[in-house]
């Protein structure tokens, strides 16, 4: 599922819950988001992943209507919502720092959206109770937000969002302020809530591990535009750009120029390498992406490279070897279990199968 594909479909897909069509935002001369098109099927959890300033928050705010768009449309359930004010869009937003109302108790916070929708009192009591139970906070209903820990506050924010069952839920780095352990715990909670509610979720993060753990698909963003959309596996195995390769997982990126018109050999600072069969790249220059697990010790594959071992990282299930190629460059390879590691400072040959590499522009 690529951006290009989405553009063609243009919201026509039967199961597209949310379609963002050429949505863009400019602040004067600053482009916060290039016109972007993405469609999100019903029940999917899509993460927006990218470095700081890449336009993730902007995209989210455009979708929910907190920021007026410079161009494009937002379509939910096939209906254009671009002119609908924030409070009428059927969208839930979970803020980075929770944005719980400090003057209301946990219960009142969660009841707020129901009250705004004029639900009957009995219904409110029932649904708030359910929502709080869902996040295991029933016993803290009468507390004020400042009397809760960070993780508990985050769960209240989630309950407040899920309680009115918006058909699309947007989350802006909801776990950004939590420590690693709590974050991992909350990721599981969010996955569970997603599964139980069946909501369509767009989730912003700049943590690739979090994206990999949570997503059905990842939308990778950089410099105010989408780099690649795909399942974690798609992006990992066939990155479309060097940025994508670098951002998801560890990559060895070898940049160079094509040697011949047939474009089968790349000339890099570390030698000439043949590119995978059937791969095409328009420009004069390109880069080869080789994952650490595809690198082997010794001259065994089509392409080989020389380096000096500078570090050996033992990480339980695997051993990573970092080798220096020249003053600036190094590469990482993963040693299969059982294979004896080289010594530090040892000169090694590293090779990979031609077709296991990926060619990117």
């Amino acid at each position: 599922m690529s951006v290009a594909n989405d553009t063609k479909m243009n919201g026509a897909r039967a199961d597209a819950k949310l379609v963002v069509d050429q949505l863009g935002k400019r602040y004067g001369s600053v482009t916060a988001l290039e016109p972007t098109t993405i469609s999100v099927p019903q029940g999917e959890l899509l993460t927006l992943l990218g470095p700081s300033g890449s336009g993730k928050t902007t995209l989210l705010q455009l979708i929910c209507g907190l920021t007026p768009a410079s161009s494009g449309r937002v379509i939910i359930d096939g209906r254009d919502q671009s002119a609908t004010p924030v409070y009428k869009r059927d969208i839930g937003l979970v803020f980075q720092h929770y944005a719980l109302f400090p003057h209301l108790t946990v219960y009142e916070n969660v009841a707020f959206p129901l009250k705004m929708r004029g639900q009957p009192a009995a219904e409110i009591v029932r649904r708030v109770g359910e929502a709080l139970d869902m996040v295991h906070l029933g016993h803290l209903a009468e507390r004020f937000p400042r009397e809760l820990s960070g993780g508990q506050q985050q769960r209240v924010a989630l309950a407040r969002c899920f309680v009115y069952q918006p058909s699309v839920i947007l989350m802006d780095e909801p776990l950004g302020a939590l420590d690693k352990k709590l974050r991992e715990h909350m990721q599981i909670e969010i996955k569970r809530l997603h599964r139980e509610s069946g909501a369509t979720i767009v989730y912003v993060t700049h943590d690739q591990e979090e994206a990999l753990a949570l997503s059905d698909r990842i939308c990778l963003m950089n410099h105010a535009k989408v780099e690649q959309v795909g399942t974690p596996r798609e992006i990992y195995e066939s990155p479309k750009t060097a940025f994508a390769a670098d951002f998801i997982g560890i990559s060895n990126i070898l940049r160079g120029k094509f040697l011949n018109g047939a474009r089968t050999t790349l000339n890099t600072a570390f030698g000439n390498f043949t590119v995978p069969a059937g791969s095409a790249c328009a420009g004069e220059s390109a880069a080869l992406v080789v994952r650490p697990e595809h690198m082997r010790l010794g001259v065994r594959g089509d392409n080989a490279i020389k380096g000096v071992v500078t570090e050996i990282v033992y990480a339980g299930s695997e051993t990573r070897i970092i080798a220096r190629l020249n003053e600036e460059a190094q590469l990482t390879l993963r040693l299969p279990q059982g294979e004896a590691p080289p010594r530090l400072g040892q000169q090694i040959d590293v090779s990979w199968e031609r077709d296991l590499a990926v060619l990117v522009p």
């Binding site: 944005a99 003057h103 705004m116």
Partner: protein, 584 residues
């Protein structure tokens, strides 16, 4: 900065050093003698009869003549109305300012601080020119044919209210603004994503969170208004006499200390009751920027219910107007209009200082320097001006030392006494000035300090201490962490740190405090009315005397001078304060 000296063991130093609270001692002693004692003494006088025995005659006199009760009622009513109207005008302006980017807000704030510090006399003088029978409004209005005959807007309640509200809106804005800027605006966005219309989101979230500021401002305005006398004296009629005017008459004309004491008790009592009521509902700590502790009482439920009702009602009313009311432009227009109301009247005085006419007509028929030359060639005015400068300079130094030390005491020694000490140093700002002034007059009469420069400096220092303390404390706040380290590592060398490290770093705050104290003294009238006089007249006292006799263009020239001096000092103070917080 601490590395060279931090070799000494901390604990040993701690135990040998005096507790930092001792830094507040000079201020506490000073205020005890010249503030607490005179005020209590004056109130004590209320129960002293003619033959020096205990007597409630003064109070029964108040109770028996309804003249006094009426004055009390009028004072209460005017103060309450002033608070309400000032909040109504101040809120949109503060809201608008809070929404501006930081830098822009810093600049716009000058439109609030200048009116705040402009002398009440100058402001009142301006309104007399504007509202009078042949004043600016009536001249322009009749000429344009807006109304047939001149409006009656001076020397009645309308005049008083205009003057009072004009004087108090800046205080309202300055009290509410810090609360508003600390509100996280994303909460309003959050409310909207949760389904609240913009109107409801504002009331249920923003307004609710700004309430501590609103109520604190209301209380401060109410209490300050209780002691007002300049505005009602010049802009009001006979029926608008306020309590402070009565006290002045009792002391100056009747020399009836006992009765003046009784009236002071009433005034302080009213202020105290207002504080207690406020404390019951909101907690006094919110005034000094503390956070409101939400509790789970029925009161909170009622409050929330009322708020919900208001939100729903306004939402209904606003619905038909839709976009129109939500527009940012409307708010800007309203805010600029309020700013114009605050700033323009005073600016109007400037051309009048240069009039060529012998009357205060507007617009001036021509321009000349004659009134400035009258001012500068008059020995009376010049001696008053020189004295005001001298007294203000001395006050500035004294108040900054005492207040600055108190601020340091609070910054170093954070214990359970910090709250009470802070409150004690703020008290001269809360107790009506007129009560302080009369009490001081009594004390000085016994000490032979009446009509002396020292007496004036002491009196003005009492009033300036709260401002200097708050100003220095604000600078220290940004400096807190380093101060902590210094205090912890340097122990016995604190004094050296103070002069070597702390002082240079908070220099900007100190200069700002000096200037603020200078301004406080420079246009102080209440104490000057009693303590200065004859040959020791200050500039405001001379203006007051002249204004009572007859308005004249010399007054305009003097007003222009005072306005220019105060405004320039204020702008310089602001520069220093800001440069100081930037350096940190």
């Amino acid at each position: 900065m601490t590395t060279t000296l931090d070799t000494m063991p901390v604990s040993r130093m701690r135990s040998r050093a005096l507790h930092p609270y001792w830094l507040a001692a000079p201020g506490i002693v000073f205020l005890a003698i010249f503030f607490v004692y005179p005020v209590l003494k004056l109130m004590g006088l209320s129960v002293v009869g003619a033959d020096n025995s205990f007597s409630l005659a003064a109070f029964s006199r108040i109770g028996h003549t309804d003249v006094y009760l009426r004055v009390l009622a009028v004072t209460f009513r005017i103060s309450l109305d002033t608070a309400i109207y000032s909040l109504l005008l101040g809120y949109p302006l503060a809201y608008w300012l809070a929404g501006r980017p930081d830098r822009q807000r810093g600049k716009l704030l000058i439109f609030v601080t200048v009116p705040f510090w402009t002398s009440y006399l100058v402001k009142t003088f301006a309104w007399m020119i504007i509202l009078g029978h042949t004043g600016v409004i009536n001249t322009v209005g009749t000429q344009l044919g807006l109304f047939g005959q001149p409006l009656e807007i001076l020397h009645n309640r309308t005049g008083v209210m205009i003057g009072m509200v004009h004087a108090m809106v800046p205080l309202a804005v300055m009290t509410m603004l810090p609360v508003m800027t600390s509100i996280d605006r994303r909460l309003v966005s959050a409310a909207q994503t949760l389904g609240a219309t913009p109107v409801r989101a504002f009331w249920l979230v923003y307004f609710k969170l700004s309430l501590p500021g609103v109520t604190a401002a209301g209380l401060l305005i109410f209490i300050s208004s209780l002691g007002f006398f300049i505005v009602p004296a010049f802009l009001g009629g006979r029926q608008d006499t306020m309590l402070a005017q009565l006290i002045i008459t009792q002391v100056q004309e009747m020399l009836n200390w006992s009765f003046a004491g009784a009236l002071s008790v009433l005034m302080v009592g009213t202020a105290l009751v207002a504080c207690l009521v406020y404390d019951k509902f909101f907690g006094l700590s919110t005034i000094s920027g503390g956070t409101v502790r939400e509790n789970k009482s029925w009161l909170r439920q009622v409050g929330l219910a009322i708020l919900g009702g208001v939100a729903a009602a306004v939402d209904m009313i606003a619905k038909p107007f839709g976009r129109l009311l939500g527009g940012r432009h409307i708010l800007s227009i309203v805010s600029w209009t309020i700013i114009a109301f605050l700033v323009l009247p005073t600016l109007l005085v400037i051309p009048l200082g240069f009039t060529s006419s012998s009357f205060l007509e507007f617009p001036p028929p021509g321009y000349s320097w004659q009134w400035f030359s009258t001012y500068f060639n008059s020995p009376v005015w010049i001696s008053a001006t020189v004295r005001s400068f001298g007294v203000a300079a001395a006050t500035a130094v004294l108040a900054t030392c005492v207040g600055g030390l108190a601020a340091l005491a609070l910054a170093y020694g954070r214990g359970r006494w910090s709250g009470p000490i802070f409150a004690f140093f703020l008290a001269p700002m809360i107790v009506p000035r007129i009560v302080i002034a009369v009490g001081m007059f009594y004390l000085f009469a016994n000490l032979g300090l009446v009509a002396s420069n020292i007496g004036l400096v002491i009196g003005h220092t009492v009033l300036a201490i709260p401002f200097t303390m708050v100003t220095v404390a604000a600078t220290l706040k940004t400096y807190d962490t380093r101060l902590d380290q210094a205090a912890a590592t340097l122990g016995a060398n604190r004094l050296r740190t103070l002069f070597g490290v702390t002082m240079p770093l908070i220099k900007g705050g100190l200069v700002a405090a000096l200037l603020i104290a200078f301004i406080t003294s420079f246009d102080e009238l209440t104490i000057a009315i009693f303590v200065s006089g004859g040959i020791t007249t200050t500039l405001p006292k001379q203006m007051w005397d002249d204004m009572i006799l007859q308005l004249n263009p010399t007054l305009a020239a003097v007003s222009v001078t005072v306005f220019v001096v105060v405004t320039s000092l204020l702008i310089i103070a602001e520069r220093f304060r800001r440069s100081s917080s930037q350096n940190l």
